[in-house]
Symmetry: D2
Subunit: 379 residues, 4 copies
């Protein structure tokens, strides 16, 4: 195995769950070593957290700028090679842009930016550079999602006519119905979260899964969102009609008021010759439907799976892996790219996925505000 | 037990599955005795089938008119009391109207009529008369669907904010992709099937389940349908956005090209305080969700169920009943009404459900053809 | 269709669930007409119930003897042809024996008799006669159980090495822990129920499913039963080890104190080349396992199913049928046999199944009482 | 957070899956730092693997003896504190014994030893010392298994009357039916694997889960094993009857020829007042049954869960964690013990579990060979 890749982390300190998810994912396949970063904008918390997770103080920085400067001062053989951006959403763009410009690879949490315009600027920067940019649409890292993509690519479904992706949660119920809480929670504040809550936070994952698994691009959408209360400024539920082509249609269904739902992501794709269904809460089952044969249930780790699916499974069949392992698969793919090794398309989402995701979010809101009309997704 | 109700049947002869479903359902609770009818417009088939199922020839009629005349000639104590209409859709209206006008109770397959206008005329006729009119939206007969309705009525969910009903099948794939077959199948011929295939045949069930379980009325809809081929005249897939009120929204998702799906009806209802989910293919499970407690799984036959749910269960818990039993429950409710016994709202769908269903179908097509705009459901 | 078969019923009156199950099952496929019987040993209840279900009084009899005499007085073309025995267990033998001796076909609830000796006498009587004897092991009537049998017969599993059948219920908890109730419930009184409660009532179904689906015969068993309280006279739980041959083994697991279980019957059969699994509470799914291919899920009504499975399915895929339909399939098979039509082995359990079942019950108790030793099942 | 614990690893090099499982589990909660060890008895492989996973060569040792010697030479603040034993089974005892004697904490794979006698010697050594000894019965690390234990401890089930644990796999089919392969595979060679294949490798996990979740001790067992071929020396399937007390019974069902089963571990526990069921392949669901209330489905990460269950969950509800996370929970508990922090009983299995497991294995074989008689489990 090549030497470990030197990884820095921006954000994700304290009790941050996203921080824990990324750190563990980075460690799982022995590819990365965390060398430093900025875990918090408050110095005490930053340095305290670094110590807690066993990092030396000398590569913990006050902020992004000093990190970039500090690392560039180090010899190339010691310098941080890649940074994971786990900061609040509105800081993603500036951080990613700076890192790219100074030659660092980037692993970025979604949403990639807060606007489509920023997304395009970032894309241009990535294209111009030689850096690897991985966007952590975590769910694409599940072996059975990858299997789905490969089976579709291999033509199992024939021409696709229908896609239906759901992302239902119920957690916002505890905030949204309380007039005080809904005024003060950052998720519902456009200044902090961008123009959309439900589509921006979760709907975009469902959208991404459709394009990831089918390899198709959604051409236009019509959205109907729900803000639930007159004084609430952001969508917390919505349905988006999709057109891939004149006769291939679909739906993104997304909600944060689907009471009792936890992380209810599902995707169904139907083609002339077959269908495929997957549910995130039971991620190790892929349901393969056909017009005339019994349903098959694919599970990870079997010889019948595709190479990219097997590459994302560590243990034999029947030993359930989960979301940490899915994220680790994305880190694994990014490591290959960073090292210049061969990797397959689909091992990690790219800046292109980020561009399309930002267009989906902005266009969903636009469609809704214009009175539920069709608008086109931009590239 | 009171004497058995004398039942006539229109249509449903030969290998008709719907005929078998109704006959068995009628017999299951010992309420009905089949006395005669018209099983086919061809006399040989008609009389042959009647003999096959053990009916005496003297009450098998050439057509509806002779049946009405013949039965009116009989003394009231022997006369047919109710007739089940299982004929092709385009004949429903005329048959039902005549039966009502002559004082027969009616059990009618869906769609109730082929147009909204006919539905309104039928409604007027029913209202003016004293007859019982039951529309066989079979799925409302399942004990757990009834349980869902009762729990919502009792306020378990608090204010409802989101509904999502699906009816996915894949059977039309075997026809639709073949240019010859799609030209010649009656389901895809507007002359024979009315203006809609997918919404008219199955989408309307999903719509009905939403109104049945929640007790709410959908105010307006926006539909996007899929005709799949330029030469195909009827929708075979579509999504319909629903507005119940400004902040209560929903979806009807319906497809006949969802490859490999069999009879995939699901309904999810989410309110401020809870959620309820049900799937037709596993009809004896009702999933009860809450913001903070473990999910509960309700099953039929338990003391914890509502009266109307228990009334629809014949055996102890763990002995699965199915769709024949669901239909039998509708016949049971209709029998009570016919006998003038006390029954609960919801024991059978009524002409009102038929009116709303026909409006849903027509308005779905209208919304689609106008370019996916909002249109109002009429009463 | 041939004329309907004239069916009489012994027992099953009042609120009897088993009575309802048999009556509905008899009616479902238009094969039988119920002509009379003895529904209760109390005349008022007997005649009252007959009236309730719409039977004429003249063929309701005081007891079995007068029924046999009365029916024999009728011309053969009107005479009862078959009788269903739904009386308490200890009356099965005498009733069946008399009916057989007088030339009536018999449909008998299980357990067939109360002792193995009686079972053998009954078998001899059946063999000597020309009558059809059907034992209602209802679960064999499910289409997917029949499919399982056919797939095994066709060699899908190769040599079978392991069988595991479960029948878990929890209902006796409400009686067994109460010293008064457990003394007075008839199920726990050997005088009324025979020597075994758990094995006799439910374990025997699990045993039967093993022999029915595999076509193999269990050679010897070793049982460990649980009586739970020193003053309780009958087993309410137990595990029985099975030997089919030296290297093919298995288990019957049975319990009435499996708290919260409803009617938890499962069967798994594993062979050199594949495995099959089925669960009664979701009867329309058959899980087909292999060493190296994805699991398949068979469902009823598809062209890929065997003839005998399809014969037991009335509606298209996705329309769940249940236990009434399973019982109706057994009645359908018996009807064919009674009419002298061609039918397939397995369409209904026979007196032979009853003999083996009674041996299983007696030998389970014998093995347990002798200190959990191996004993042989007799034919 | 305290400083990281210095961990050494014995075995688990190369493509070893168990090695990967332990390394990742050790890293997941930031408690351990891997400092060295012996990954293979072949030096080239040993040092090569160490380099591959990024370890410095100076603490990679030739063998256990030199490791112990080398580490004792280091100052206490740098010295390895704990070692994970992942070697072939027959080496566990000697390694563990030496490590304990020299004051190293031990994390040991199961089976703990190859004989009960060794297990007792190890227990004595542990008791005499102050070291922490953790046995990696991985499945006890799942949050829902821990929840099960806590609910039983809290009395939810009342007095327990029935336990049923299954461990079904089918993988040995690919070897056992081939006369050549079954002679040469190490798993089937008593010299290398101990006296039992099926009970020793997997049955013991099922046994452990029963004692872990219920807190009860199995008193005696009766085993029937299957060797499948006359020339095969070890069990590859078997059922073990359990007696916990006179009226509390149970079963361990274990197989490696359950064709198509992957890692099918299930446990069901039934008591007077309730039942609990869990399946390893869907580890995030715990089914809670009662005599009269709807079944509840507990999932991880909710406030309604017990402290020890929540402690083993890193992400919010709906984000599935898997077997790496379960193993990580055991490492987490061991870390607390090693640091002298407070921890709860059940956070990791101990030498006591190893002693009972070894007795279960030996006694299963003894019972079988004596002709399926009852034998007592020893402490």
């Amino acid at each position: 195995m090549a030497e470990k890749i030197r990884l820095g982390i921006l954000g994700g300190g304290g009790n941050s769950l996203i921080g824990e998810l990324h750190r563990i994912a980075a460690l799982i396949n022995d590819n990365y070593e965390i060398v430093g970063g900025v875990f918090s904008s408050k110095w005490e918390e930053n340095i305290g957290f670094a110590e807690e997770i066993g990092l030396a103080a000398d590569r913990i920085y006050l902020d992004l700028d000093s990190m970039v400067a500090g690392e560039l001062d180090l010899p190339e053989s010691e310098r941080m090679e890649v940074a994971s951006i786990l900061t609040p959403n509105f800081l993603h763009f500036a951080a990613a842009k700076k890192l790219i410009d100074y030659g660092f690879h980037v692993i970025c949490e979604k949403p990639m930016t807060t606007t489509f315009k920023e997304a395009k600027l970032l894309e241009a920067a990535v294209v111009k550079s030689k850096i690897v940019f991985a966007l952590t649409h975590t769910y694409t890292g599940y072996p059975m999602v990858r299997q789905m993509r490969e089976m579709i690519k291999d033509g199992l479904l024939g021409k696709i006519h229908k896609v239906d992706a759901q992302y239902y949660q119920g957690w916002i119920n505890t905030l949204i119905h309380d007039p005080e809480k809904r005024k003060t929670t950052w998720r519902l504040d456009p200044e902090k979260s961008g123009i959309s809550c439900c589509m921006g936070d979760i709907g975009v994952h469902a959208f991404n899964l459709i394009e990831f698994t089918t390899g198709l691009q959604v051409k236009s959408i019509l959205a109907d969102l729900n803000y639930l209360y007159p004084d609430n400024k952001m969508d917390i539920d919505g349905t988006v009609l999709l057109r891939i082509d004149e006769y291939t249609k679909g739906i993104v269904r997304s909600s944060q008021i689907a009471t009792g739902e936890e992380n209810g992501i599902t995707i169904s794709v139907y083609g002339e010759a077959g269908g495929l269904k997957w549910e995130q809460e039971n991620p190790n089952y892929l349901y393969v439907l056909s017009n005339d044969k019994p349903m098959q249930v694919y599970k990870p780790g079997h010889a019948y799976n595709s190479v990219i699916s097997l590459d994302g499974t560590k243990l034999p069949p029947g030993h359930p892996e989960g979301i940490f392992d899915a994220m680790a698969n994305i880190y694994k793919g990014a490591a290959r790219a960073i090292r210049g090794e061969k990797y397959n398309d689909g091992e990690f989402p790219t800046v292109k996925d980020g561009v399309r995701g930002m267009s989906f979010i902005e266009k969903s809101v636009e469609s809704h505000l214009k009175g539920n009309v069709w608008v086109e997704i931009e590239n």
